[in-house]
């Protein structure tokens, strides 16, 4: 070969060409796949909301239809940290995960979306919650019954918790413990504690997960911090 591959000029040229080719290829892939990925995320969000409402037969194919069937989009609202309604924001478009991670955003300025659903004529409210587990973000949806006090359903999910330990928060045996709880008594907010001593059957207590204490405590914290805001709204 005529070209001296060890010359600086050749090395630079090769590197520059490589960066341009690879960079534009990746940009094209990312740009082309973005709409599909966004759609997947929206469907997943709808699946989670429907999951908290204990609706059966929800999968990626049926989620859009079932969501349209049960959720009354016109009544979904966004609250501020004091429980007042914020106008002009679509509840579904609020990304509470990004807001939670945004260190520059004052926690008092976060948005609090509230989804309103109607199941067999009875109104349910779905509250999204987000917090921190041991390794990464955890989140979930808590559905409150028509009386605006008792919990109707709950689901939790996580990004990178340990399988078999913290990751168990997404299992029914854990989140179903919330079903018997109430978030307020006569309008007064009550904290639901995640406990270690096995007294989870008591009121306002659920059993934590063995080996997943920090994740369990993360669930307690995110539910506690978020639900308070909605109780203020429910009392108005």
């Amino acid at each position: 070969m005529a070209i001296d591959k060890d010359k600086n000029g050749y090395t630079f040229l090769f590197s520059i060409l490589m960066v341009i080719v690879v960079g534009s290829g990746l940009a094209a892939a990312s740009y082309g796949l973005k709409p599909l990925q966004d759609k997947n995320l929206r469907v997943k969000k709808k699946m989670d909301i429907l999951g908290a409402l204990k609706i059966e037969g929800v999968d990626r194919k049926t989620a859009e239809d079932l969501y349209a069937q049960y959720i009354i989009e016109d009544e979904c609202i966004v609250l501020d940290a004091d429980g007042n309604i914020r106008d002009g924001i679509v509840a579904f478009d609020v990304d509470i995960k990004t807001q939670f991670r945004n260190k520059k955003l004052d926690p008092a300025d976060r948005d609090f979306p509230l989804y309103v659903a109607s199941i067999d004529g009875s109104t349910k409210y779905v509250i999204p919650v987000v917090g921190s587990g041991l390794w990464g973000p955890i989140w979930g949806y808590v559905a409150v019954d028509e009386d605006k006090s008792s919990i109707y359903g709950a689901t939790f999910d996580h990004k990178t918790e340990t399988p078999g330990l913290g990751a168990e928060i997404k299992q029914p045996f854990f989140y179903n413990q919330y079903l018997k709880e109430v978030i307020s008594v006569d309008g007064e907010y009550k904290k639901i504690k995640v406990v270690k001593d096995g007294s989870g059957a008591d009121d306002f207590k659920v059993d934590g997960i063995t080996g997943g204490t920090i994740t369990s405590k993360g669930v307690e914290e995110m539910v506690d911090r978020t639900i308070q805001v909605y109780v203020k709204y429910f009392n108005k």
Binding site: M1, K5, D6, Y10, T11, F14, S15, M18, V19, V22, G25, L26, A29, S30, L33, L36, Q37, N40, K44, R60, K159, T160, T162, P163, G164, L165, Q171, P172, F173, N176, L179, G211
Partner: protein, 231 residues
Amino acid sequence: MSEKIKAPKEPLFSKKNKRLVTEPLDDNNPVTLQVLGICSALAITVSIEQALIMTGAVFFVLGLGNVIISLLRNAIPSRVRIIVQLVVVAALVIIVNEVLKAYLPDPAEKLSVFVGLIITNCIIMGRFEAFAMANKPWPSFLDAVGNTLGYGMVLVIVSVIREIFGSGKFFGYPILGNNIVDPEAGLELTGLYSIGYMNNNFIILAPFALFAVALIIWVQRARNKSLIEEH
């Protein structure tokens, strides 16, 4: 880890090419003999499904990467070859990640960061440097097939053990019975669980994968004494 660097050969016969595929399955297995790619063997072997998707992703990256590196082998400046290999592997991994998120969102969610970590899978850089830099595209592709199969085989063996004894499931189906008690949903203990059996949580944790891989290495070397290194 030291790795045997193969002398550049001209594989004219299909027999040689065949050996490229079969050798990494047993006598030159990337996981149990070269002890590469252990990190992912720990992380994603809790379920068989994850192990298979990971194997597929690695096959895409290694297969295409080996061919690309092999095609470029005469053009890559030797002083920056490791960086070039890294760029190729990183670009392919990002593409896999984006495609999985777009078309297979559920498995992508389960694998989460581990797809990105294929970049650090030593098998891939190892094959680029040791094989693709010195061989033609076709043998390089076969080398990728062999090494991915060898890698995937170990992942699947480990994940079968971990899924059955750690979660009581096989491919996501509860084969040992139901282990969740939930009176409201009408769930109670059935199968083995009803007579006091419990899942072993240790098997779910990463360290167990090391024991499992070590057991495979032991069995393999007990069967084929020539694999035992001399000191």
